[in-house]
């Protein structure tokens, strides 16, 4: 990347044989002279990085619900009941990549409902962390086959699959009627931090937003990043929305506050998928909840209340 960097690869220079192209490169270089190069803000970057780490945000994608930290796929699957103590023993941990769901995601429907005459559903795809370069490369190929290129913006980090070693990924798919939007990506690092205590990550997604630009049923519509006390009001009167959130597996209840001050409590031990509840997604370190935003209000804030 630095100017003295060696980019020597086989195809390098072929296109650059074109004198015009070279000159355009010169013009671009000249245009960058307008940039004021100040001191590199090292301290600010470190502070920002630590904040991200604290929030378990390994990488935020398009409106990402980003969760870092995991105690491993099976440990999470076993973390039920809300006390976080039911963790599978290491002895039962599967060892083949297929068993661990490295090459095909585990899919869990974390919420569903009906709005405006159409059924909607939120599904989480969880890809387990590859353990070595071979697994990472094969997973990379599998992801490329699974998702349209335009949905990979936040997914395939780095051309070097080895970057993925030890990191699991999940995708959130919002389906309304026959249309789907792969909107959000999260990553979790095997063996490192995990969402805990009263940590919470929340996003909102417009159900009405699905559709434009669809060419193949896989839409590029995205989840909007929210926060636990988002001030970004969105019209609840004209747009059907859902709130999608993640919490620690120990969380028992989430209280969502709407723009008019009313609240909705989402509990873990609630029956029925159409009833908002906290539940685990297979392979994912944290628990999920999905709530339809009541008409006439918008999402205001959310917190783990129990």
């Amino acid at each position: 990347m630095s100017s003295d960097q060696d980019h020597g690869t086989a195809d390098h220079g072929m296109m650059h044989g074109d004198a015009e192209s070279r000159h355009i490169g010169l013009l671009l270089a000249d245009a960058t002279d307008a940039v004021r190069i100040g001191m590199a803000p090292y301290q600010a970057v470190v502070r920002g990085g630590r904040r991200r780490r604290t929030r378990r945000c390994a990488v935020a994608a398009v409106a990402a619900v980003v969760i870092a930290g995991s105690a491993g796929t099976l440990a999470l699957t076993g973390a039920t009941g809300g006390d976080g103590g039911q963790v599978s023993s290491a002895a039962t941990r599967p060892h083949t990549a297929q068993e661990r769901h490295v090459y095909a995601p585990q899919q869990t429907t974390v919420g569903s409902g009906r709005d405006g005459g159409k059924d909607w559903e939120v599904t989480v795809d969880v890809w387990a962390a590859p353990w070595d370069e071979a697994e990472a490369a094969r997973q990379y190929d599998a992801m490329r086959r699974t998702y349209p290129v335009r949905d990979q913006g936040g997914l395939l980090l780095g051309g070097d699959p080895s970057m993925s070693i030890g990191r699991g990924r999940f995708y959130v798919r919002v389906t309304v009627g026959d249309e789907s939007s792969m909107g959000s990506l999260g990553m979790f690092t095997e063996g490192e931090e995990r969402l805990s205590g009263k940590s919470i990550e929340v996003s909102t997604s417009s159900l009405d937003g699905l559709g434009p630009g669809s060419t193949d049923g896989k839409l590029s519509g995205t989840l909007e990043t929210g926060s636990t006390d988002s001030k970004e009001r969105r019209s609840g009167e004209t747009s059907a929305e859902i709130v999608i959130g993640t919490v620690a597996p120990t969380a028992q209840q989430v209280r969502i506050t709407w723009s008019d001050g009313t609240t909705t409590d989402v509990d873990r031990d609630t029956e029925g998928l159409d009833t908002p509840r906290i539940l685990d997604a297979q392979g994912c370190p944290d628990s999920w909840f999905v709530v339809s935003v009541p008409r006439g209000v918008s999402y205001e804030s959310a917190k783990v209340s129990k």
């Binding site: 690869t9 245009a31 090292y42 970057m163």
Partner: protein, 179 residues
């Protein structure tokens, strides 16, 4: 443990400071605005900092950084965060006091180029910037953009064709750039 962390931090600091000027220029071409460029690079390195242990041990950390930056740029684009791609009257892109006719013409040309660049679709802009400013190979550009080499070729060719159509740019190009 503490020593190792300190060593990692020092390594990151050195890497960051070394890459800052170049990446800032790249980000400037992608966003068209000084502050947006600084913000993009800073966001990129915050993510790199979090993953530094992994990045540092990678074969080519720069590949990772470029990829993170392109992804961050794409996210901003998709979220429609306001990007001031075209130079404005109060933009630092236009020198306040050009010291002569040539400088004025040069600033105009730069502005025209940046405007044209800003009007390219995002993927074409990224392909052009990475190929012709970052001087990456098609393969490296494809890695950074998360697409095929063919897509890079296509996006770069279309982008360049549009830039060539810029009035005055073709002449400038054939004369070998601004003097």
């Amino acid at each position: 443990m503490g020593d190792r962390k300190q060593a990692r931090d020092a390594e990151f600091q050195s890497f960051f400071i070394g890459r800052w000027p170049r990446l800032l220029r790249t980000a400037f071409l992608l966003t068209g605005e000084q502050h947006a460029a600084e913000d993009l690079v800073q966001t990129t390195f915050e993510q790199v900092y979090v993953a530094w242990r992994r990045v540092a041990s990678a074969k080519d950390p720069d590949t990772y950084v470029r990829r993170v930056m392109i992804n961050a740029h794409a996210r901003r684009h998709r979220r429609r965060l306001k990007e001031f791609l075209a130079p404005r009257s109060d933009s630092p892109l236009v020198p306040e006091q050009p010291d002569g006719g040539d400088r004025m013409a040069q600033a105009d040309d730069r502005g025209a180029l940046l405007t044209a660049l800003s009007q390219l679709p995002r993927r074409q802009r990224e392909a052009v910037v990475l190929r012709y400013w970052e001087d990456l190979s098609e393969t490296q550009t494809a890695d950074a953009m998360g697409c095929s080499v063919g897509a890079v070729k296509s996006n770069a060719a279309k982008g360049i064709a549009k830039l060539r159509a810029l009035p005055g740019l073709a002449e400038t190009v054939t004369q070998g750039g601004w003097k």
